[in-house]
């Protein structure tokens, strides 16, 4: 049994160290005339199954304030939307923005909806994007999609042009003046597909249920006539209806190139933004500033930690060394958790971590003082440790619960809208909470083991 435990501890330690590796470490040495030339990289899990793939890379995730990027908050204009549809409209808007941002080529964008009272917002995080003007134009364009048909009395004109080509729409365009109830709100999504016979690219529209019904009605009335698709009142396509369409799907075909079709699909998706939004908050950090701040924080952390360690050894001697050992283990475990979850590190987050290091030391100091006290009372070494730990743990638990409580309120995990929802504060609260929770573990379990192993009379 005992061996199993040691083996378990050994492998856990290896795992933690592996996750914590700062980067690739080259290994070059010669054994028995054999040259070993390889490198150890931080752990990457990549499991390839027949129909699934699990990929996880353990690396430090930095927040926008550290690696640079833009944070945009848009407020939705909800005046034209029914209360019951609001939630859907907002989520749909978020999806549309997400698609647009992805097409913009941003890596790992985060698009979230934030509700605050009766105000609905969409926050967009764009790592690596520094041009806010460009980004906000891309996201915020309030293009609206409309479908228009020919007025009934002009029926004879519709016969003039019934070619499938949008470019040949010519004369009939002027007659596409009758607005319909079908708008961008009713388009679920537009995708590029290819005609199975001709291989021509085309744009497939998928309507919502409501949109499907409207579209069925429109197509029924307009067989062999054109239906105009307008984006911001500019005609982008005028396909001719061949038959009534009931299944809520439509195909816009024409003499597109693949690129044209793609742009059209994007335009329609963009037009499908059901709410108009405007920018209310914007923060962007250039790439150079973050790097400097990271370096400074790391320096500060190392110097602070060094001072703490020197102090502990100066004051507590051998016990201090043990505490320092526990502290190092604490730091490694916490950092491994940051990488494994992963927890996005922001500047206040780093501060939270640094603060939690200070608090982790506290548990050790409490324990040592209690042990010393028991020894002063003349208890034997083993009894002193047992009693000291027992008495210290009550205080440690109670004291740390309050910190966790405050961290919980600041982090606002259930996203209550009456509490702050801003990222920086959350980053701080999260690292502090993880730090405190880990310190409870290392303080109680690891310090005790270390004392038993290294602190014989």
């Amino acid at each position: 049994m005992k061996y199993i435990r040691y083996i378990l501890i050994f492998f856990t330690s290896i795992l933690i160290l592996w996750i914590d590796l700062p980067g690739s470490i080259p290994i070059k040495f010669a054994v028995f005339g054999q040259n070993v030339d390889s490198e150890i990289k931080p752990l990457v899990i990549d499991i390839q199954g027949t129909n699934f793939r699990y990929f996880k890379e353990f690396k430090t995730q930095l927040g926008l304030d550290l690696k640079g990027g833009s944070h945009l908050v848009f407020e939705a204009d909800t005046s034209g939307t029914k209360q019951s549809d609001l939630e859907d409209a907002l989520n749909a808007s978020r999806d549309v923005i997400e698609r647009r941002v992805n097409m913009f080529g941003v890596s790992e964008p985060v698009v979230r909806t934030v509700k605050s009272g009766s105000i609905y917002r969409i926050s967009v995080d764009l790592p690596g994007v520094y041009d806010v003007a460009q980004a906000s134009t891309l996201i915020g364009q309030t293009a609206q999609l409309h479908f228009k048909t020919q007025p009934n009395e002009d029926q004879e004109l519709s016969v003039i042009d019934n070619s499938e080509s949008t470019e040949g729409a010519g004369l009939a365009l002027f007659n596409l003046t009758k607005t319909t109830d079908l708008t961008g709100k009713d388009v679920k999504k537009a995708t590029v597909t290819f005609d199975q016979q001709t291989g021509q690219p085309r744009v497939a529209l998928e309507f919502t249920k409501e949109g499907g019904k409207l579209f069925a009605a429109i197509t029924e009335e307009n067989i062999q006539k054109q239906v105009g698709i307008f984006l911001d009142d500019i005609l982008i396509s005028a396909p001719t209806v061949q038959q009534e369409i009931r299944d809520g799907n439509a195909v816009i075909s024409g003499s597109f190139t693949t690129e044209d079709a793609k742009q059209l699909a994007v335009a329609i998706n963009s037009g499908a933004l059901p709410l108009s939004i405007n920018l209310v908050e914007q923060r962007s950090v250039g790439p150079s500033l973050g790097t400097v701040e990271v370096q400074r924080s790391v320096t500060a952390g190392v110097v602070g930690l060094g001072m703490v360690m020197i102090f502990m050894i100066a004051y507590y001697g051998r016990l201090g060394m043990i505490a320092n050992g526990a502290l190092l283990i604490y730091g490694l475990i916490t950092f491994a958790i940051f990488r494994a979850v992963p927890i996005v590190l922001t500047l206040p987050g780093v501060a939270g971590f640094v603060l939690s290091i200070g608090m982790a030391v506290d548990s050790n100091i409490l324990i040592f003082e209690r042990i010393k006290e028991e020894k002063r009372k003349g208890k034997s070494f083993d009894t002193a440790i047992r009693l000291g730990f027992g008495r210290a743990i009550d205080a440690i638990k109670d004291a740390n619960v309050t910190t966790l409580l405050v961290a919980f309120i600041l982090f606002n995990p259930l996203n209550w809208e009456f509490l702050p929802q801003f990222g920086l504060v959350r980053g701080f609260a999260l690292t502090l909470a993880v730090g405190v929770a880990t310190s409870l573990f290392t303080g109680i379990v690891i310090t005790r083991r270390l004392i038993q192993i290294f602190y014989k009379k």
């Binding site: 003007a133 920018l279 209310v280 200070g358 920086l424």
Partner: protein
């Protein structure tokens, strides 16, 4: 055993002078509110060559109206605080500046917060603080099964909050610290630390009571203070080392944040033996 409680008048004088100084500071100097709370635009530019601050201010004022604050940073950097302008205007301003001074500008940071968001942030933060205080009160009352202790812990908590809030006005006046969301975070952390520290002392008193019954509370308290003083100071030193390193060497954005936490740690350590404990003892005696 040292009779700590004997010197309560000294503690009261120290606490009152710091708090009164803080309140006067708030009354006299107030705060510089960050754009988090009142809205506005912060721009941090780095120019390719040295730029004269006055002429920069002149050009900006001509183009974008009032410059609320302008601050020089190393390497030809400037931080401009303006009324909220949108990104198009920012671009226009930057182009104008580049032409005017015939240099290139690197945007290190650009932040704009609308006034509505600011007011909302302020309100939510206040709610968070209120919930935190109530939560702490309930927890201490539960952990010690004693309302007097809980009340004393809360008195110490308010004491620390007042010290931090008051002294921050001084930081604001002398060093240009802005009242922002990070300050509020630091304040809440101070509150939790304050109670954290108080609990350790109270725990010791509780321990004596468990062992020796309801004896002389004053003696127990003095004993507990003597027991925990070293631990309390040592613990604060370690946290202060970390924070001091952050203040002196850390990034500019969190300098005041770490500074506030430093003040909070000092007052949080001070208040446990010298505010919370005397109040708890006094309450226990009065309400018997």
């Amino acid at each position: 055993m040292i009779n700590f409680l004997n010197y309560w008048k000294v503690y009261l004088t120290i606490s009152l002078s710091v708090i009164i100084f803080g309140l006067v500071a708030i009354w006299q100097w107030g705060y510089t509110y960050s754009i988090d709370f009142v809205g506005g635009t912060n721009l941090e530019y780095r120019f390719e060559k040295a730029i004269d601050q006055q002429s920069l201010e002149k050009v900006v004022t001509k183009n974008e109206g009032e410059v609320i604050q302008i601050e020089k940073r190393p390497n030809n950097g400037y931080v401009l605080r303006l009324q909220a302008i949108d990104e198009q205007k920012e671009l226009a301003l930057r182009t104008t500046l580049e032409n005017e001074f015939n240099t290139n500008i690197e945007v290190l940071r650009s932040e704009t917060v609308g006034p509505v968001i600011g007011a909302e942030t302020l309100r939510k933060t206040a709610i968070a603080a209120a919930i935190a205080i109530v939560g702490i009160l309930l927890f201490v009352a539960y952990a010690f099964r004693n309302f007097n202790f809980a009340l004393a812990a809360i008195v110490a908590l308010f004491h620390d909050a007042l010290v931090v809030v008051g002294l921050y006005s001084g930081l604001s006046y002398f060093f240009g610290a802005e009242l922002d969301t990070l300050f509020v975070t630091a304040l809440l952390t101070t509150m939790s630390f304050s109670v954290h520290d108080t609990i350790v002392v109270f725990d010791q008193i509780r321990d004596y009571r468990k062992r020796f019954g309801k004896g002389n509370i004053e003696e127990f308290a003095n004993k507990a203070l003597t027991d925990t003083m070293v631990r309390s100071l040592n613990n604060s030193f370690t946290i202060m080392f970390m924070l001091l390193a952050l203040v002196l060497l850390g990034g500019t954005t969190i300098r005041f944040f770490a500074g506030t936490l430093l003040i909070g740690t000092i007052t949080g350590t001070y208040s446990s033996p010298f505010v919370a404990t005397p109040v708890a003892v006094w309450l226990e005696k009065v309400r018997k």
